[in-house]
Amino acid sequence: MAESGTVHENTTDANTTDPNTTDENTADPNTAGESTAGESAGATARNRTVRPGGGPRGVSRYVLRVIAIGYLFFLLVLPVALIVWRTFGDGLVPFVEALTSPSALHAFQVTLVVALWAVALNTVFGVGAALLLVRHDFPGKRLLGAFIDLPVAVSPVVVGLALILLYGRFSPVGGLLESWGLQIIFSTPGMVLATVFVALPLVVRSVVPVLEELGDEQEQAAHTLGASRFQTFLRITLPGIRSALAYGVVLCLARSLGEYGAVAVVSGRLVDQTQTLTLFVEERFQNFDQPAAFAASTALALLAVVTLLLTRLLRPKD
């Protein structure tokens, strides 16, 4: 489900790199000037905590807070805490046992292989596409940007179906590949393709704004000083986009680990063969093996929290 969430995370990201952005922590000269000028409304602008309670603003402040926290508690903290509690209710041993069963270990391994391939391919694609979009002028640039964005808006199930239609055993392409001994659908290559598809724009959208902001003066300077283009890329461009790239890679990794719909369709959900961690959770849950399902869910949730914290660290100036 992480799909387009990232589109706006990118929006946010682009904003944070925007020089005009007023971060709430940095004192904005305009507002500061205003608050000394006017005692009434402007004075408390930056420092709401000193504002005496009461009045419509004071009430709305508490209402906002109660609604926000109530929502978070009932729909997020409580459900996730319940899973964690069910997982560890009988201590650590069942948790470890559930996650070290042969099926679970295999699912971990499949997930890891698929995610690493997908991340690697998307990173190469992402950096390449971002360089072209920012450092090279050609007609139809905006259109190309839209083409890169589209995959996040396509339903994962449709992604799976589309891959089956193209690479399935009974299609011309799939048949040909199979005669060469290469099975795509119901096997790892298909799952990698599906994951690459759904996570395609994430790296591009993280790198583009930073590459734009960076400008190319330093690259030109390096070039003038005799660096080859590849050296320039390695020594100037890559360090400049490092944290944005890492941010994109983490987003991409999170998406790859958690993907369900597209992978469920193309993998055929074969236990101990093409079962990823998310598919493992679903299959265990349907078979009333709740301890295993909850344990794997907890593991996935922990991974999600770690990636979220990582993106927080990597996102520039947030």
Partner: protein
């Protein structure tokens, strides 16, 4: 950096390969929806609109479409209200645990759908005692739709600052008037972009839906999933998928337009 000729060729190759992974299969889906051969023989022996007609007449598809629209609209409405409120609370006020709250709000987008699904279904079942149905689907979708609205509104709030609202207050407008005449118009395109993405997310979602939908509640992605491997339904499934591909162009197009009209959204 001036790209050398070989570098440019390599980059274009990577780009074309990457986009090929996406667009060749999607193209096949759209083309096959007009393929007159039931089993998608290739090259198509002829083109027909027959399957589109059949899909339109199918009650299963229509019901699923209606359910998806209801779920999408419901989840988007909740997301717009809660996401905006949460963004205001986090951006405009300082309170104990604000960083934790802001982290928790965006958590659902990082959380794998299956975890959200199982967690919510469990909570509805064993704690809140709410029977699963369309309502629970809407609430489930809202958890991650809120994030899209929240992110967009938060970004806008960060950029606009308080100056305009202060000016409005200084000129004698009360809080509500200021919100109606100053704050809301500034937020409008951010709300539109966030709402659009929220609707698209809800419309495409499958796994949270599977776990929060009661018996008989079937959204469009679930309908496709259920009919995917039924050979006699293949042409209709294909049409629905093609329709979904075409429809998903809309939010991307509008987002581009929005960002084009207002350079600040990008």
């Amino acid at each position: 950096m001036n790209l050398s000729r070989t570098a440019r060729a390599a980059l274009w190759t990577a780009l074309v390969l990457g986009l090929g992974v996406v667009y060749v299969p999607l193209g096949v889906v759209v083309l096959n929806s007009f393929n007159s051969d039931r089993t998608f023989g290739w090259p198509p022996p002829g083109f027909t609109l027959q399957w589109w007609g059949a899909a339109w007449r199918s009650t299963g598809v229509r019901d699923a479409l209606w359910t998806s629209v209801q779920a999408g609209l419901g989840a988007t409405a909740i997301a717009l209200v809660l996401g905006t409120m949460a963004a205001f609370a986090v951006q405009r006020y300082r309170f104990f645990g604000r960083d934790t709250v802001s982290l928790l709000i965006v958590l659902p987008i990082a959380l794998p759908g299956i975890v959200t699904g199982i967690a919510l279904s469990n909570t509805f079942h064993s704690v809140l005692g709410v029977p699963l149905g369309l309502f629970t689907v809407i609430v489930g979708h809202a958890t991650f739709c809120v994030v899209t609205v929240y992110n967009n509104v938060l970004a806008r709030l960060r950029r606009t600052g308080l100056n305009m609202e202060e000016a409005s207050a200084d000129l004698g407008a009360d809080t509500f008037t200021t919100f109606r005449l100053v704050t809301f118009p500034m937020m409008r395109s951010a709300l539109l972009a966030g709402g659009l993405l929220a609707f698209a997310l809800s419309f495409d979602e499958i796994i949270v839906t599977t776990f929060t939908a009661g018996a008989g509640v079937r959204t469009l992605p679930i309908w496709i999933f259920e009919n995917l491997f039924r050979p006699n339904q293949a042409p209709v499934v294909n049409v629905v998928a093609a329709a979904l591909v075409i429809v998903s162009v809309v939010p991307i197009y509008l987002a581009q337009r929005l960002s084009g009209g207002d350079p600040q959204t990008r």
